[in-house]
Symmetry: C2
Amino acid sequence: MKNDESLVKVRTKSVRKNQIRLSNERRILAAAVKIFAGFGYQGATTRKIAEEAGIPKANLHYYFQTKEQLYRRVLDGIFKDWLAAANTFDECVEPIEALRGYIETKMELSRKRPLESRIWAEEILRGAPLIQHELEVTLSAWLDTRVKRITDWINAGRIDALNPRILMFMIWAVTQHFADFESQIRALNQQQNLSDNQFKEAKQQVTRIILKGIGALD
Amino acid sequence: MKNDESLVKVRTKSVRKNQIRLSNERRILAAAVKIFAGFGYQGATTRKIAEEAGIPKANLHYYFQTKEQLYRRVLDGIFKDWLAAANTFDECVEPIEALRGYIETKMELSRKRPLESRIWAEEILRGAPLIQHELEVTLSAWLDTRVKRITDWINAGRIDALNPRILMFMIWAVTQHFADFESQIRALNQQQNLSDNQFKEAKQQVTRIILKGIGALD
DNA sequence: GTTAATCTTGACCAAACGGTCAAGATTATT
DNA sequence: AATAATCTTGACCGTTTGGTCAAGATTAAC
């Protein structure tokens, strides 16, 4: 009883307080994504992030004690999106539909959330100092599951014999390239970002070359 | 006569002096590649670079006045390798041999010079602040030339109809992925870098999927 | 209206940064 | 041997960094 009462009180209080807390955390995290993506972990300063969020730096440190803690929270969010992108892959039975859907989802992620892709890329570039363990455990297990499905397709003769891991690396490389190397693509496209039509064409061509390349088409 | 004499003198002096200068510049540049690749432009400090080169920081600044100047020199070297990698592409007439050779060369670059690839990738990630102009002029012209050759192959029915630029982006993405995302690949490969045999397999699979995917193989 | 949390903020700090400088060591020329 | 050029270096400097702190503002509960 007593415990229940105090729990209710705590919860009531938490709901309101959490509104302020959650709202501020969201603002800070959104600002952090922008600044980390634009300047890298070292180049990003807590001053810049606080300024982007429209709050004093000391207030930022009230919600996130250290820059590294804030960065970890950003990375966690990105990692979740990364894994969730495989839903289509898992739902479809046919290799063509599963891979087409996965490539499509990853391409759309690059199109709509390029900042997150760049933060991820920079973390890996630096040797994944903060997410190495997550890669070795969670992502590794995630990959194993998908490798098994691809292996089944190979054994059923639905696609060519190949190394499933390398296929996944190729898909990651190509799809994320459109986010990570956006500035290079822009410089080679008359200083214009890819238009919606150009991006659609890229998506279709990438899908077709990979699917045809692994013997899933024709 | 007088001019000739003084020229000879200048040259004689320069040869010896340049030995010291060139030798030190090389040491510093080699150290800079390591540190820039490992920590990024902002994370790299002139102290770390000087320490890696085994010289006092003040001596580094004698040869390269600013960190940015040093970084530009590193980028210039990388850019030259980037462009030179297309030699095979240009020398071969057949699409299969030209593309196979280019993919092979780019894969070997990723294998043998991953640090340079990562420095390039980080510069692009940050929006190419220092090499934007080079991308828009030199790399753009470079790409145009290769696009024309690919277009000829398409018109001759040697490969499928496709957007040549997107094909080049795919090749860059996949080949450079093996250098830029090395730490991720390692984490997904029992914490081991790809062995020579694994890398050879990757090279072959990447080549086969792309060539087959564009209709160059049957 | 008092109390107790939580939130906000300007001022501040030690450490590290890129870069400078003057003085000395080396090397080549006369 | 003297001179001039280049190379080397420890000490130093103004600025910026991530992070702290104490004092005040706000909010919720009794």
